[in-house]
């Protein structure tokens, strides 16, 4: 298949009948969805409108590219429910900033991808009540990973130029990208605006691209990155004490992607190749390290003891504390699922929330509310915040010596649904052990597919220092080009 950038060129010079092609893409989505359940909503009307716009004015850096959007990102007029039944029927009255950006660059939005309800999961098995779970594109008995499972699966099976917008809080881009055999990039916290993102844990939520290639992800990042005054946590280079390379707002992340990496220092995180990680996956990481070495990179083993041990518990405490406040607004009063008005307000919202939140959402609301209560707040929430600072500092120290960190993405191959059912809650949470560190620290990281084991894809993960996406994509591109 030709690259997406070549396709965009063909659209731009008018040699693609985009309206006809869009009809073709749309006509296949239903049957695709019947098999894989990647789309919670198909936005036929919006896709036609956008393709019509592109046919009139075939311009833009994403001209004619089909984009699927994780269900937690608001698309005006298209049902947006974070795969939760409590938001059934909710059609936002505004677009997320990233949606406005991709539309203005000629993207054609085809639908909303399924996920763990509000992002609460690592396999996309925690979809809301009545919403089908996305399945692994290589084996439909197995999980697609999560929580951006629909996005990663869609990126794998799309036989048309397609990039998905995913979202990661604790590993929700890397995990499904690894299980589905695609590239998933989680940018630095604050690089991409969160305006219009339905919150899971606001201090860690990051929107990022999932696509077939590193270049596709770099292209998408070039468009969605940048300061947004509607998001107070959005990074503004103008306010930064550190000087940015060229001071320009818009970096083209595809530009220097293929530069050679000889001389770069790559750290292999010792703890990530320890107990609990499949041997076959460790072998792939070592294979990847050898290739990088062959390309002239310097490989160094480093230890990240504190993140390896404490990232997971502090991540979960912060995440559930924030999530439990974010989910309070869903009470059946202004949007989403309503019930007949009986009883007082407390009885009413209790009924709505009891009936329409899934089990994992309820679990995280209860955990988060508990960890915020007076008496526990200091021991859990405030302590977790302090641990996060320690972890960030340890990563910062590491990045003084190395350019990027190499680890496996997931400790296991995509498990079967019946295996997942037998996992305890803690074993479930342990699936994030390799991805939570960079997520908690707000570091950019990327999953790169690295061959197959037993017919299932394996991914390696590269993490970089804050706002060093260019370097990260550069190394990732060089891994991808030699990947088995």
């Amino acid at each position: 298949m030709k690259s997406t950038i070549e396709y965009i060129e063909r659209v731009s010079n008018g040699s693609v009948d985009i309206k006809k092609e869009t009809e073709e893409v749309l006509s296949n989505l239903d049957s695709l969805n019947d098999k894989y359940h990647y789309l919670g909503a198909i936005s036929t009307g919006l896709a036609r409108e956008l393709s019509n716009n592109v046919s009139i004015k075939p311009k833009g850096r994403l001209a004619g590219v089909y984009v699927s959007v994780k269900d937690c990102i608001a698309v005006k007029g298209v049902e947006t429910r974070s795969s939760s039944r409590i938001l059934s029927g909710y059609k936002p009255v505004f677009n997320a900033t990233v949606i406005n950006k991709i539309i203005s660059e000629g993207a054609i939005i085809i639908g909303k991808t399924t996920q763990d309800e509000f992002g609460f999961g690592s396999f996309s098995t925690n979809t809301g009540i009545g919403i089908k779970q996305p399945v692994n594109p290589f084996d439909i008995q197995r999980a697609a990973g999560g929580s951006s499972g629909g996005s990663a699966g869609m990126a794998q099976v799309a036989d048309f130029p397609h990039i998905s917008l995913g979202e990661s809080t604790g590993g929700s881009i890397a995990s499904p990208a690894s299980f589905c055999g695609v590239v998933g990039l989680t940018p630095t916290y604050g690089l991409v605006s969160r305006y219009g993102l339905l919150d899971y844990a606001n201090s860690m939520d990051k929107i990022g691209p999932i696509g077939k290639t590193v270049e596709d992800c770099a292209l998408m990042l070039s468009i969605i990155a940048g300061h947004d005054e509607k998001d107070s946590t959005s990074y503004n280079p103008a306010n930064s004490k550190e000087k940015s390379d060229d001071g320009s707002k818009n970096i083209d992340y595809t530009k220097n992607i293929d530069r050679p990496i000889s001389g770069m220092k790559i750290g292999i995180v010792k703890e990530s190749l320890g107990e609990g990680v499949d041997e076959s996956i460790k072998n792939k990481v070592n294979e990847c390290a050898s290739d990088l070495k062959a390309q002239g990179a310097i490989i160094e083993e480093i230890s990240l003891a504190v993140p390896s041990e404490y990232a997971l518990p502090s991540y979960y405490i912060i995440a559930v504390c924030e999530a439990s406040t974010n989910l309070a607004k869903y009470c059946g009063m202004r949007y989403g699922k309503h019930e007949s008005l009986k009883g007082n307000f407390n009885e009413y919202f209790t009924k709505v929330r009891s009936k329409h939140f899934g089990q994992e959402a309820k679990r995280r609301i209860i955990l988060g509310t508990f960890a915020r209560m007076a008496g526990f707040r200091d021991a859990y929430y405030l302590k977790a915040l302090k641990v996060r600072t320690v972890i960030i500092n340890e990563y910062k120290k590491a990045f003084k010596n190395v350019d990027a960190l190499l680890t496996p993405t997931m400790p296991v191959l995509p498990p079967r649904f019946d295996e997942i059912k037998n996992l305890s809650v803690l074993q479930n949470y342990m699936m994030d052990v390799l991805t939570v560190g960079p997520n908690l620290a707000g570091l950019p990281h990327i999953n790169i597919p690295y061959g197959m084991i037993d017919g299932l894809p394996v991914g390696v993960m590269l993490s970089g220092d804050h706002f060093c996406e260019e370097k990260l994509l550069n190394v990732a591109f060089n891994i991808e080009k030699n990947a088995p």
Binding site: R194, T233, M373
Partner: protein, 466 residues
């Protein structure tokens, strides 16, 4: 524990006079059509995010610095979680651990100092309408126009010992807010929650919520003191509870018992980054700080009576008019005329300072004419009455209506003689030395001249005739 019979502490919420809401660009006031001033942010729609209105920080600092507070190094917001139908997000964005301002003092008119524990910034919830009253409605209606309006919450120590003192505190507070130009009496809501306890109950604390304005606070607290005293005398126990003030009925009624402190599960709001309160910002605010009423009073007292000074300094708009007039007019003269004449006409016509259309320049023109003797006091008073109704060019008005004082003595003498001829009996009495008759005769001349004669001069003329 306490020394006084009654112990009162207040939590006052004052709306800040900004153009837009605290976290979105919806107008703070204006269109009163229900749910018309709203957007995804103040409605708490999924995915919307708050962005801080920087003006609110300036206003908060102005208040904190004016009452001598310690100022926090940065402005940090927290989420206060509780479920209530007036809450768009079921949490309120407020401040918790580190309030913007802490440890200030507000001085009452009696000189007593009330300690301010803290003052912080927060968003107002929506407004609830109970169609059949708070206790009897089957449903409530929600109006989000108010949702997200900026509030400053001011928390006092329990330093007040009577409902009257609480009223005085509210009055002083409103004065300060007005003088700082961060509060507009017309468009901004001010509400107080009062904690009140009495010796007889062993100081069991009762909270009375939602008292609007300084007159109401005295009423509500007087009622509550009496209620508690009566309950104790009847052998009932005072419960730790929250009560609401029903202004229409003039009573408080129980909302809920306070068995334990409510747990709001505060976390730092992760959608908002801490905002630096730099020394430079504080210096700028200090430099542009308006003079407060205490300072004005001290200044005025040097020239005019304390009584007049108090009246003029009690309203920031009146004080501003006075200050400007004094740049050109003798402060004693201006003080007397503003305090006596302007206020007399305003009271008579029931005009509030907020509606006053008269400009300092009008008063300056008028006062100049009176001082130089071009018009008499009595003409001046009449012009003042007209000016307050609808301002006009004073000099032009005086000329076109020939209101200048009659300075020609022979002209005045002629009119005096005419009055004597027309009132022979009064003239006889005057001759006999009756002062009442003298006043009557002067009045008659004034009537004929439409007040344009100098009364003193007339007295001299009448005396010379007889």
């Amino acid at each position: 524990m306490f020394e006084s019979e009654i112990v009162i502490g207040l939590e006052v919420h004052a709306e800040l006079d900004t153009n837009t809401k605290l976290f979105c660009s919806c107008p703070r006031e204006g269109n009163d059509k229900r749910n018309s001033r709203v957007c995804p942010i103040c409605l708490g729609h999924p995915g919307s995010k708050p962005v801080m209105n920087k003006k609110v920080l300036d206003y908060g600092l102005r208040f904190g610095l004016a009452i001598g507070c310690n100022i926090a190094k940065s402005l940090v917001f927290s989420r206060k979680s509780y479920f209530y139908p007036d809450m768009a997000k079921n949490y309120q964005i407020t401040q918790f651990e580190i309030p913007l301002c802490s440890n200030g003092i507000i001085k009452l008119s009696s000189g007593k100092k009330i300690k301010i524990n803290r003052a912080h910034i927060e968003e107002d919830p929506a407004a609830l309408t109970h169609p059949a009253g708070i206790n009897d409605s089957a449903y409530v209606l929600v109006d989000y126009n108010r949702s997200g309006n900026p509030l400053i919450e001011i928390v006092t120590e329990p330093d007040m010992t009577s409902p009257n003192e609480a009223r005085d505190f509210m009055k002083e507070l409103i004065k300060i807010l007005n003088y700082l130009e961060i509060f507009d009496t017309d468009s901004c809501i001010i509400k107080a929650d009062a904690n009140i306890s009495i010796r007889e109950s062993g100081y069991k604390r009762v909270e009375v919520k939602n008292i609007t304005g300084f007159k109401e606070i005295e009423r509500a607290l007087m009622y509550e003191v009496e209620r508690q005293k009566q309950a104790v005398s009847e052998g009932a126990e005072i419960l730790m509870e929250t009560r609401s003030w029903d202004a229409a009925k003039g009573i408080t009624c129980s909302l809920r018992l306070k068995e334990s402190e409510e747990d709001y599960g505060y976390i730092t709001d992760p959608d908002l980054v801490p905002i630096d309160v730099s020394d430079e910002l504080i210096e700028t605010i200090k430099k542009n700080m308006p003079e407060l009423h205490h300072a004005k009073l001290d200044k005025y007292k040097k020239n005019i009576s304390e009584e007049d000074a108090k009246v003029i300094s009690s309203n920031h708009k009146l004080a501003a008019i006075y200050d400007e007039v004094c740049e050109e007019i003798d402060p004693v003269f201006a003080g007397r005329w503003i305090r006596r004449e302007l206020m007399r006409v305003m009271n008579y016509n029931k005009i509030e300072f907020e509606d006053l259309k008269i400009k300092p320049s009008h008063l300056i023109d008028l006062f100049k004419l009176i001082i130089e003797g071009s018009i008499t006091d009595s003409v001046g008073q009449k012009i003042m009455e007209k000016l307050v109704e609808e301002p006009f060019d004073v000099n032009e008005y005086v000329n076109s209506n020939s209101l200048k004082t009659i300075s020609d003595n022979s002209e005045l003498k002629k009119i005096c003689k005419q009055v004597i001829n027309e009132n022979p009996q009064a003239a006889e009495e005057l001759k006999a030395g009756n002062t009442k008759s003298l006043n009557f005769m002067v009045g008659q001349v004034m009537r004929i001249t439409k007040g344009k004669a100098d009364a003193k001069k007339l007295v001299e003329i009448f005396k010379s005739i007889f």
